[in-house]
């Protein structure tokens, strides 16, 4: 097995999911300079809602793809409504408030949504019904599953669709104009409140699809799953330059790759048996082909935050961002 290629495949899968979620953070930040900490919870709701629909329909003799489609078709509008609700109820009343207020509200909403999900779906880790047959292809020494191909394909299609929306449509132009100067956008006749609401709704729609795919990929869902995922996607958005649409895409993919490659190699790199001659004790423990690994692949989650810290220290405006530090 080719570890490198395998981890690239895994990293692309993860990374395209991060990218889609990161877009939700970056679009909202770009337009109202708010870090919507509750966005990860919208992804979680997407996973939970589609899990419920899929579980309910799993007994029927519908084809698996139709069941999954049904799940996502319920999850998308539900999450869009949730995104709209968040903006309307929690953030809009604070549009003119000092910036800390909506930020704290966002954290509050994220906790509220976690608790609501816990009440609705229990505090247990739920198994995502595995109704899709596991199909795996071999590719130059690495294996790639049909699900991974679908995830990568759908994420890229959604990113392309979003790019078209933002750079080629009237709504997209209004979003970019509002992001740059809401007051002037108003003078052009842009209903800024509606554009901001649309931004939340679009981000939430993407989050719903991402939630379903994350659930299918890991085979489980949990009311706290949005917290880690959200922080990683947020790190990806910061890595690309928060507020910058292509930046979120690049940042997401890069973060996924860093994580997967890191997880793939960290065991080997921190295997103390490479330095077996340093101590007699190590020598005996490594003698019969054993190894003494300092950090295993369970350290995968650390990479996102290492990347986040490095970016904040060395390039706070992110890879593609230009004008962030003063506004963050």
């Amino acid at each position: 097995m080719d570890v490198f290629l395998q981890q690239v495949v895994n990293g692309l899968t993860l990374g395209s999911l991060y990218a889609v979620v990161a877009l939700g953070y970056t679009m909202v930040y770009g337009i109202i300079q708010l870090i919507n900490f509750a966005h990860g919870e919208v992804v979680m709701f997407g996973a939970m809602i589609s899990l419920s629909v899929i579980s309910a329909a799993a007994g029927s003799n519908l084809p698996p793809l139709a069941i999954i489609l049904a799940g996502v078709l319920v999850a998308i509008p539900a999450c869009m409504a949730l995104g709209y609700f968040l903006e309307r109820i929690a953030y809009r009343p604070l549009r003119r408030a000092p910036r800390l207020a909506p930020l704290i509200t966002a954290i509050g909403m994220s906790i509220v949504l976690q608790q609501v999900a816990m009440m609705l779906w229990s505090r247990n880790i739920l198994a995502f019904p595995q109704i899709l047959p596991m199909v795996v292809y071999e590719l130059a020494g690495a294996s790639i599953s049909a699900l991974q191909i679908a995830i990568i394909g759908i994420c890229f299609a959604m990113m392309a669709g979003l790019a078209l929306l933002i750079y080629r449509t009237r709504l997209g132009a209004a979003m970019r104009a509002t992001a740059e100067n809401p007051e002037i956008a108003r003078l052009m006749g842009v209903d800024v409140d509606r554009v901001i609401a649309a931004t939340f709704v679009i981000g939430a729609g993407l989050a719903a699809v991402a939630g379903l795919m994350v659930g299918l990929y890991y085979g489980l869902a949990h009311y706290m799953m949005g917290a880690t995922l959200g922080m990683k996607a947020f790190s990806a958005a910061v890595l690309g330059g928060i507020g910058n649409i292509p930046g979120a895409m690049v940042g997401g993919l890069l973060l996924g790759l860093v994580e997967a490659l890191g997880a793939g190699y960290i065991g080997d790199l921190t295997d103390l048996c490479q330095y077996g001659t340093l101590s007699a004790m190590l020598e005996t423990r490594c003698a019969d082909g054993g190894n003494v690994v300092l950090f295993g692949s369970n350290y995968q989650d650390v990479f996102a935050f290492v990347v986040l810290i490095l970016v904040l220290v060395f390039r706070p405006s992110g890879l593609l961002g230009e004008r962030v530090a003063d506004r963050a």
Binding site: A174, R176, A177, E180, R186, L187, M188, G189, D191
Partner: protein, 236 residues
Amino acid sequence: MLAVMDLQVHYGGIAAVKGVSFAVEKGETVALIGANGAGKTSTLKALARLLAGYVTTGSIRLAGEEISTLAPHQLIGKGLALVPEGRGVFARLSVAENLTMGAYSRHDKSEIAADLAHIYDLLPRLKERQRQLAGTLSGGEQQMLALGRALMGRPSLLLLDEPSMGLAPLMVQKVFETIRAVAATGVTILLVEQNAKLALETAGRGYVMESGRITLADSAAGLLADPRVRQAYLGE
């Protein structure tokens, strides 16, 4: 066309506009001149309903309709466009996208295309640079773009806030030529300027604003001849 009655603007405790009343008739170009901080920009912003976060009182009638209760994005549909102080072009949108944003409130696609062609005729520099990001234009070109963008909304009343600000003399001449050309097409203009001479040479009538109040109102020729104006604003 425009009738303003007892307009007041308060920023917190600061009264910037202390009850001004004036009118602009259809087809006129009217100048509003005054020193720094007189409240000119505040007046225009209040007309464009951009001061919703502050206390503004008074009546603003546009073509007989009270507009002081409308949301700012509804005004362009009523025919009111503001070219703001400092131009306010969307720096990260292309020149063409900026112009298209000007027509955001319209839905007559073929007419919009015709107007765009017309703007490019009027301002050929913009045509050469239509794919360029607006932020990369020179100050004068940005002023032209801001003007062209406002015209794309087919306003009946155009509010201009210091179009000459920060421009070299030659460019100022060009901008004002364009303003006169626009006025000649029948657009009503309310022109705010520091450059009182230029403004009064362009307008038919004028108002002088001093610390939040209108202190003089006369024909442009009358104001140009008024010793108080000559002393305070024409540097004589």
